[in-house]
Symmetry: C2
Subunit: 360 residues, 2 copies
C-alpha cells in the first residue's frame, strides 16, 4: 500500500480515576476462570496499595513485577512468555501493562509472543509478526513515550535495539488515568516528557510528514510547551495535558518517523544501557545542527526545571564500542530517511556519527 492503513487503539478511556473501571472493562474479556489476566507491573509499585490494591485479581490472575531499571530485552520477553505458558494450561485472557514505556512495551511484546513462535528477537523489524496477539491493555503511569498508542514495542536483542513494528502490536484497550502519574519522580517526569517533545520535533521536521501526522504532532507540541514552558508547577491540569501530549505525540508517528536523536539514543541504549528518555535527552542536547530551534527550546526547558543532562558519557569508549553504537544507529534506516531524506547517507557517514557520539 502506498499509504499505511494505520491501526488505532480501538478502545480508550480517559479520566482521573478511570483506573477504577478496570474490572468493568476486563470482565467481558475473560474467557474462563482457567485463562487468567496477567499484569506486568513496574516493581516500583510493589507494596503500593493505592495502585496495586485496585487491581481486580480473580481466579488464576497474576501480577508479574518487572524492573524498569533496564530497557526491555528480548531475552526477558521470551522468558516471561515461557513462564506463562508453562504455568497455565491455556493462553491468558489478556496481558495488562501498568507502568512507563518499558512496562507497556513488555506487555505488548509478551502478548505478541504468546501467539507467535520462536524468539522475540526474530521479530525485531517491520511487519515480521504473523499472528494477532493475545488481548492486551496498556495503562501508563508516566506520560511521554507514546507507547500507549504506537505500533511498536522497542526491545534490546542480541544483535540490535529495534522494535517489533506491526499492525498486531497496538493495544486493544488503553486506560488513560492522569492521576496515576502523580508520584512520578521529577527527573523521570522530565526525561519521559522530553521523549514526547523530541518525537514531535523529529516528526514535524521530517520528510515523511503529512497533514495527518502534522496535526497530531503540532497539538502534542503545543501541550508540551504548556506543561514544560508555561507552567511553574506540575498540577492536575498539567498531568492531564501531558498524558494527552503523549497520546497525540504517539499518533504523530503514524505517517512519520522519529529522527536523529532517537537513532543515536538507540545506540547509547544498546551499548551503555542508557534508558530511552535519558538517552534521547543526551543525544538531542548535542543536535543543534539538525534541530536548531528544537534544541534551543529544549535547553530553556532543561534550565527552567533544573534538570541535569549528562555529558561526556562516551568519553572513555573504545573504537570498537563506538563502532557498535554506530552500527545500531545506522541500522535505523527509516529514521534517517525521515530526518534527512533519501540521500541521508551522504550526510551521515560513520565518521560523522563518531564525531556526534564524541560530543555526548
Amino acid at each position: 500500500m502506498k499509504y499505511r492503513n494505520f491501526p488505532m487503539v480501538p478502545r480508550v478511556v480517559f479520566g482521573r480515576g478511570s483506573f477504577n473501571q478496570l474490572e468493568e472493562i476486563l470482565s467481558p474479556k475473560r474467557k474462563s476462570d482457567k485463562e487468567p489476566f496477567i499484569y506486568i507491573v513496574d516493581d516500583v509499585f510493589e507494596g503500593n496499595d493505592w495502585l496495586i490494591g485496585r487491581i481486580p485479581l480473580k481466579y488464576l490472575d497474576k501480577i508479574i513485577y518487572v524492573s524498569a531499571d533496564e530497557e526491555p530485552k528480548t531475552i526477558l520477553v521470551d522468558q516471561f512468555r515461557d513462564e506463562i505458558i508453562s504455568e497455565f494450561d491455556k493462553l491468558p485472557s489478556g496481558i495488562i501493562g501498568i507502568g512507563g514505556g518499558a512496562m507497556l512495551d513488555y506487555a505488548k511484546a509478551i502478548a505478541l509472543m504468546l501467539t507467535n513462535p520462536g524468539s522475540s528477537a526474530d521479530y525485531q523489524g517491520w511487519d515480521l509478526v504473523k499472528y494477532p496477539a493475545v488481548y492486551h491493555v496498556g495503562i501508563p503511569t508516566i506520560s511521554g513515550t507514546g507507547s500507549e498508542v504506537s505500533r511498536t514495542t522497542v526491545l534490546t536483542g542480541p544483535v540490535r535495539k529495534l522494535g517489533m513494528n506491526s499492525d498486531f502490536t497496538p493495544f486493544d484497550q488503553v486506560i488513560l488515568d492522569p492521576e496515576l502519574t502523580k508520584d512520578a519522580p521529577k527527573n523521570q517526569w522530565f526525561y519521559t516528557g522530553m521523549d514526547c517533545y523530541i518525537h514531535c520535533i523529529e516528526s514535524l521536521t521530517g520528510t515523511y510528514l503529512n497533514a495527518f501526522s502534522q496535526s497530531y504532532g503540532e497539538k502534542s507540541l503545543d501541550l508540551c510547551r504548556e506543561v514544560f514552558l508555561e507552567k511553574d508547577e506540575i498540577d492536575k491540569d498539567s498531568q492531564d495535558k501531558l498524558m494527552m501530549a503523549s497520546w497525540h505525540g504517539g499518533m504523530s508517528i503514524a505517517y512519520s518517523q522519529v529522527g536523529v536523536a532517537h537513532a543515536m539514543s538507540y545506540g547509547l541504549g544498546y551499548l551503555l544501557g542508557t534508558k530511552h528518555g535519558i538517552g534521547n535527552c543526551i543525544a538531542f542536547n548535542q543536535l543543534e545542527e539538525f534541530y536548531p530551534e528544537g534544541v534551543a527550546e529544549f535547553k530553556v526547558m532543561v534550565n527552567k526545571h533544573q534538570i541535569e543532562i549528562s555529558e561526556n558519557i562516551c568519553k572513555d569508549l573504545t573504537d570498537e564500542e563506538f563502532d557498535i553504537m554506530i552500527d545500531i544507529a545506522l541500522g535505523l534506516v527509516p529514521l534517517w530517511e525521515n530526518a534527512l531524506g533519501k540521500d541521508w547517507q551522504k550526510i551521515i557517514t560513520r565518521k560523522k556519527l563518531r564525531s556526534l557520539y564524541e560530543l555526548m
Copy 2:
C-alpha cells in the same frame, strides 16, 4: 462506567489518492462471492468516472445511489436494509459509504440495521443497539461533519430527529483522501466546514469538557481558523487540513457534546428539512448570547467567503410548528446539559426557545 470507554475507528488511511487502495483494503474482508460489498454513494457522483470508475466492483457488489438533498431518514434506512436482505441470500461482506455526512450516516445505519431487528427508529437514542453491525467503511468526500469518527448516525424518524448512538456505530475502517473533496461546491464546503467549527465551539465551551476532548477540539479549531480565516483559496493544503479538522472535531465530541446550535438545528431539520450544515449556520448566526466570541468569528468567516446565511426562515410558522421544533430541541437533553449545565431548564424554557427560533 463513570468515564466512557470510547470506541475509536480501528483502521484509518490518510493520503491524497488513498482511495485507490480501496480494493486492497476490502479484499481481505470479502467473506465469499455471494456476500457482496454494497456501496452507498451520493447521487451527485453518478456518471463521474473519476470517482465511480475506481470503485472495485466484483461478483455481486452493488452501488446504491442516494440523494443527499434531504437528511437521512429512518424510513429510507429500513427500506434499503429490506431491499438488500431480499436481493441477496446472505448478509453483505460490508457497507461502504462514499459522500458527505448523509452518506456516511446511511452507511452506518444500514450496517447496523442488517444485524438488529425492527426499525431504525427503535434505536434512535443512546446505547439502544444490541448487536455489532456488518463491517462498514466510511469515505468522506466533503469535510466537517465528523461522522467519519463519531459513534452516532443522525436520522430523522417518525417522532424525532436523533442519532443511533452506540459503540457499534463507528466505522471499522475510514479512508481519508482529501483529493475526493476537490469538487465540493463552495457553499457546501463552507456549511459543512462550519459544522466542524460549531462542533468545536460547542464542545470547548461545554460543561462536559475534559483534557481529552479539549485537545482534539482545540486542534480542530486551529485548523478551521487556518482554512477559513488565514487562507484566501481552497488549495490542496487546505483540503488536507479541513479533512483533519473534521476528524479531530469528531473526536472532540468523545467526552463532550455539541450544544445549543446543534439542538436548535435538529428542530429546523425535523420540521423544515433544513440540511444539517445549513441549519447549524442559521442557528449559530443568532446565538451571540451563548457563544459571543464564536459567533463573532463565524460572522468574519461568512463575510470573508461571501456566503449567504438565510434569515427569517421561521417567520411564517404557526404556533403548532414552533411547538414541534421546540419539542425536538428540548428532547436533546445531553446537548443542553453540556451547553448550560445541570440547571439548563432554568434558562431554556419553551418561551425562550420560541424567541430564539423567531430570530432564525
